[in-house]
């Protein structure tokens, strides 16, 4: 035996978090290269080539307008994908048993998977922001981050939220195709219709109202507020609602682990 419960849980939590982070850090060609290439293409095609025709939206150049949305897209999809893949791959090959048979608490297990996946989301989000900022700075001038505290808070909340949703996805999936379906057919449409590439003001009143049902709108809006200081929806309210959703999703993760959903017979 190894020690008292709290020591075991803290050390176990840190070990599992480290394991999860190392898994994606050691494979940059699979984890960081794809969003790098994809976003260079996005900024080049949408921002530079099409952006010249679009001009400005809400008073900022188009490339700057889409930057927060692309950061959100990369951050949330990587958070979700990391958690869902790691859990499902562990289930598929049964090595998640190394964790499940350990004295780590269920909250500790969930905390490690969520934190590591959110870390990947933050790193990818930062990478995309750096690409966008570099291109914007080269084309126009260096632009400061208007609301850094809000930006950090929104990025933390949305990556944690999608990491915890990814845990549910990883537990619910019965095949690798299920993960693809979740990412391509649910996550991406929500992001693309989440006012990443357009302003809500450009929509008809009906479509605008429908768009407000999409939680992604609040995330993109919040991150855009952090970057540019302009918002179409109250960022404080968005942050509170998103934080509540994150807490609920993490709570559900712990409950599912406790019940052994997708993990035990």
């Amino acid at each position: 035996m190894s020690g008292d419960g709290r020591t075991v849980d803290l050390t176990g939590f840190l070990t599992l978090t480290k394991r999860e982070v190392l898994r994606f850090l050691r494979r940059p060609s699979n984890t960081f290269a794809p969003p790098f290439i994809t976003n260079v293409l996005y900024f080049s095609v949408f921002g530079v080539i099409l952006g010249e025709r679009v001009g400005t939206i809400t008073g900022v150049p188009y490339i700057l307008f889409i930057l927060p949305g692309l950061v959100v897209l990369g951050a949330v999809s990587n958070s979700f994908e990391n958690a869902s893949f790691s859990i499902f791959h562990g289930r598929w090959n049964e090595y998640i048993h190394e964790v499940l048979t350990s004295p780590l608490s269920y909250a500790g297990m969930v905390g490690a998977y969520v934190l590591a996946a959110a870390t990947r989301g933050l790193l990818v989000g930062g990478l995309i922001a750096a690409i966008g900022w570099a291109i914007v700075s080269a084309l126009f001038r260096p632009v400061p981050v208007e609301e850094p505290v809000y930006l950090l808070a929104f990025m933390l909340v949305i990556t944690l939220l999608f990491a915890s949703l990814g845990v549910i996805g990883g537990l619910a999936a019965s095949d690798f195709d299920d993960l693809t379906v979740m990412n391509q057919f649910i996550l991406r449409p929500l992001v693309f219709f989440g006012a990443v590439f357009y302003s809500l003001e450009d929509l008809t009143p009906l479509l605008r109202d429908v768009s407000l049902l999409n939680p992604m709108v609040y995330m993109v809006n919040g991150v855009r507020y952090g970057f540019l200081g302009v918002a179409e929806v109250d960022p404080r309210l968005s942050l509170v609602v998103l934080a509540g959703m994150t807490a609920a999703a993490v709570g559900l993760d712990v409950l599912l682990f406790k019940r052994g959903y997708g993990l035990t017979d």
Binding site: K18, N82, G90, W92, N93, E94, H97, T101, P103, D265
Partner: protein, 351 residues
């Protein structure tokens, strides 16, 4: 003294199958306990309940006094499990896999690294420490499974078919190592298809069949329940066994007397104790004995006898509940996965 394992009326039902039908067992601390049973008997289900991979439908199980559900963290911290399946993290070199496993049990990193090295040396694959599991040979993989169970310094070591599919030398190495650990105080719970293994290693064995405990006894006690064969060569064998009816005057241990190729064959329980009486009786009857051999019943024969079922009696053979097939590596799902995981770095293995 605390018992390492106390299980009462443990039950597990799947949709149309009762895998455990009220198993009750006590394993004393420090003992070497064997769990024998045919495929589908419920051995792996039983073990998986203890470590939290299967949720029991009813009953209680306690590991060193800790309930496996209510005090799951304390219970799991006591256990080191070497399962039959190769369920190992493929993303990392094996020494890191061991460090992680120790870390999950609350062992600080520096100590975990030392323990990982020690465990790899114990099982003889230290020189492969930087290799990923997939690149190990079959025998090395089996050794690694034991190393992973040892790295948490468990009080209860559970070995599920540890020597399935390994060569004789490796099997003996494993036996020596596990025996040494047991002598140092580690309680060992062993499931095996190799009856010789149980006979040689275990203080006590439970025979599990179709989700029930058939019996619990020491290997010697079990063998005493079987029938031995005392084969005697006489200088002048009689024409038929009937002429030797005087050999069993009221001895209820003797079950049969026959002649096989001019040799007298006496089938009896506790043949070693019956033999001197036989010699006396034959001598008294005027027979001259040229040779005598006592063929002791084996634990395997007792096991087969206790778990024998009539054809078509509904035994859940090969139903997949137990997962304890006889092939090496057991249910190693990675072979069938659509990815060769971390080793090949393909898309699905590395997202």
């Amino acid at each position: 003294m605390t018992n390492a394992l106390e299980v009462e009326d443990l039950r597990k039902s799947y949709r149309d199958l009762d895998a455990l039908k009220g198993v009750s067992l006590t394993v004393p601390e420090g003992s070497f306990f064997g769990l024998l049973g045919p495929n589908g008997a419920g051995k792996t289900t039983f073990i998986n309940v203890l470590v939290g991979l299967v949720r029991a439908s009813g009953g209680d199980a306690r590991v060193f006094g800790h309930d496996v559900e209510d005090d799951y963290r304390q219970a799991r911290d006591c256990i080191g499990l070497a399962p039959q399946e190769f369920n190992v993290d493929r993303f990392f070199p094996i020494h890191e896999v061991l460090e992680h496993k120790a870390g999950y049990h609350g062992v600080p990193h520096e100590v975990a690294a030392e323990r990982a090295d020690r465990a790899l040396k114990q099982v003889g694959i230290y020189d492969k420490r930087d290799t990923r599991f997939d690149w190990l040979s079959g025998g090395m993989k089996r050794r690694f499974m034991l190393a992973r169970a040892l790295v948490t310094d468990p009080d209860l070591l559970i070995l599920d078919e540890p020597s399935a599919g390994v060569d004789v030398q490796l099997r003996r190495d494993l036996w020596d190592l596990v025996t040494e650990l047991n002598e140092e105080g580690t309680t060992v719970l062993l499931t095996t298809h190799y009856i010789e293994e149980a006979e040689r290693l275990c203080d006590e064995v439970a025979i599990l069949d179709r989700g029930r405990v058939v019996t619990v006894a020491s290997p010697e006690e079990l063998m005493d329940r079987g029938t031995d064969r005392v084969v005697i060569a006489l200088r002048e064998p009689p024409a038929s066994a009937d002429a030797l009816s005087e050999l069993r005057p009221g001895d209820d241990r003797i079950e049969d007397v026959s002649l096989e190729e001019d040799r007298l064959v006496v089938t009896a329980r506790q043949g070693g104790l019956v033999a001197p009486d036989l010699v006396r009786e034959l001598d008294r009857a005027g027979h001259e004995i040229l040779d005598m051999e006592i063929k002791r019943t084996s634990l395997e024969e007792v096991f087969v006898d206790m778990t024998r079922h009539e054809e078509g009696d509904g035994r859940p053979d090969g139903d997949g509940v137990d997962g304890d097939d006889d092939d090496e590596g057991g249910n190693d799902r990675d072979d069938d996965a659509p990815l060769e995981t971390a080793a090949t770095g393909d898309r699905e293995g590395s997202r």
